[in-house]
């Protein structure tokens, strides 16, 4: 069973502000949370990516991730590659791309794989997380998408954009981990709002979490409280 240090829970959290109604206030909140709790990654709406990179430039252990083909995944490979390059140029050190879900559902697996590989190759060694958007997929499609992602060199299989209609479940994490073994990391995103869910997913094999800025502080504070409780001396 994987143990995580509750006091360092920020190290597995990508704090995200990617909803359509996100405003500058929330972008700043996201930055503050990453800073205060040493979160590993900030995931902003693309109109705020450059700003976020600038604001976090002094934090060596935090990266900013650039979204690519987001959230539809239905951009052309050409545009996904161009977007990836733009994101890297402004200073992103991770990328979160959405796969061509339509091609996957149509059984065009080579198309899906080539699309991912093109972004991975254009990213040089920057880790690419591939969002398979599980809310639209059958278990079989989840397996297939995960395999293709690994084959194409993705660093992470990511479950959702956070825009989909259904949240990620622990079972899905288990399924993906079973499919890919240790060939890539797993990031869960979409509807994860509490610590218990996160811990269950860690146990199921999840490495990273995309948590909305509206839930992030509460989760981290809860984790700190639990860490305190665990360390309290027992009275016999």
């Amino acid at each position: 069973m994987r143990k995580i240090d509750l006091r360092q829970i920020g190290r597995i959290m990508d704090v995200s502000a990617v909803r359509t109604d996100v405003d500058f206030h929330e972008i700043n909140q996201m930055i503050e949370i990453v800073r205060k709790y040493h979160c590993i990654c900030a995931s902003p709406m693309p109109w705020a990516t450059r700003y976020t990179v600038e604001q976090l430039s002094d934090m060596e252990d935090a990266v900013v991730t650039g979204v690519v083909g987001f959230p539809s995944g239905a951009d052309t490979t050409f545009i996904k590659v161009a977007t990836a390059k733009e994101m890297l140029a402004v200073g992103c050190r991770e990328l979160d791309m959405v796969i061509n879900v339509s091609a996957l559902k149509s059984g065009k697996y080579q198309v899906v794989e080539n699309d991912i590989r093109a972004v991975v190759e254009s990213a040089n060694d920057i880790p690419v997380k591939t969002i398979i958007e599980i809310c639209y997929l059958s278990d079989d499609e989840i397996r297939r998408a995960s395999e293709l992602a690994v084959k194409a060199g993705a660093a992470f299989v990511k479950t959702g954009t956070g825009w989909g209609p259904r949240p990620t479940t622990v079972e899905t994490i288990r399924l993906i981990r079973k499919t890919i073994g240790s060939a890539a990391q797993i990031k869960a995103a979409g509807g994860i709002r509490d610590l218990d869910t996160m811990l269950q997913m860690v146990e199921a094999g999840c490495d990273r979490f995309g948590i909305g800025v509206r839930s992030a502080s509460a989760i981290i504070e809860e984790a700190a409280r639990r860490a305190d409780e665990m360390e309290m001396p027992r009275e016999n």
Partner: protein
């Protein structure tokens, strides 16, 4: 209005990005067979549609930065030019409404200018997303759009649901005739209006047309045509 005219006001949507290839080709066949104006598809689908629609009157409307419009205008410009190369003749662009809500009007004007330039001679449409904007914001944005030479405003991305307080369930966010009347009062005949938002039955279609819509984007365009009276 006769049926043929009504058909020419319809744009056939694929609805969302998880559609199967056959849904996309089906949308094209429907459009050709029934004399619809256009198909509304994601950029990665354009080339296939262009092959199927070759020789027909049906145009391809590309969804640019859809549905969240969160990328900077320079990237939207790249998307438009790429879509144009692949065969799109109309561009349905999601706008950075954040700038409207924050009253950053210079940014609004700048983005519109970049989009207009990228679209060139082709029809440029922007999604207003009336569900996020106040009447004042809608009015002002339309004003800027007219000034920039935008051809058409689309009421909404037509993807979203809202929580109905009474039933506590998610209900589709329907196209709103009231919003259209407001937009019409602002734009007159200087810009066209396209209504979009779960227009699945004739009743709502009739309503939006009466309110001033020139075009309708619907995933159920053929049903609308069948119900037309």
């Amino acid at each position: 209005m006769d049926k043929k005219t009504f058909a020419s006001k319809l744009e056939n949507r694929v609805f969302d990005m998880d559609v199967h290839d056959t849904d996309v080709s089906n949308a094209c066949y429907e459009a050709m067979y029934h004399g619809l104006a256009s198909v509304q598809v994601f950029p990665v689908m354009i080339e296939e549609c262009a092959k199927l629609l070759k020789g027909s009157e049906v145009k391809i409307a590309a969804l640019i930065d859809y549905p969240h419009g969160g990328f900077p205008p320079e990237i939207k410009k790249m998307e438009i030019l790429d879509a144009k190369k692949r065969g799109a003749e109309i561009f349905n662009v999601c706008f950075t409404n954040r700038n409207v809500k924050d009253r950053k009007w210079e940014q609004v004007g700048r983005e519109l200018q970049i989009l207009r330039e990228a679209a060139g001679e082709s029809e440029l449409r922007i999604f207003l997303e009336t569900e996020y904007l106040t009447d004042e914001e809608i009015t002002k944005l339309c004003g800027y759009a007219i000034e920039a030479g935008v051809d058409t405003v689309i009421t909404s991305t037509g993807l979203y649901y809202k929580l109905d307080k009474e039933s506590r369930t998610e209900v589709p966010l329907l196209a709103d005739a009231r919003d259209i009347r407001l937009i019409k009062s602002v734009v007159g005949s200087r810009m066209k209006i396209m209504a979009q938002g779960f227009i699945d039955h004739w009743d709502l279609a009739g309503e939006v047309l009466e309110a001033g819509a020139d075009m309708i984007g619907s995933a159920k365009a053929v049903r609308l045509l069948e119900e037309f009276h």
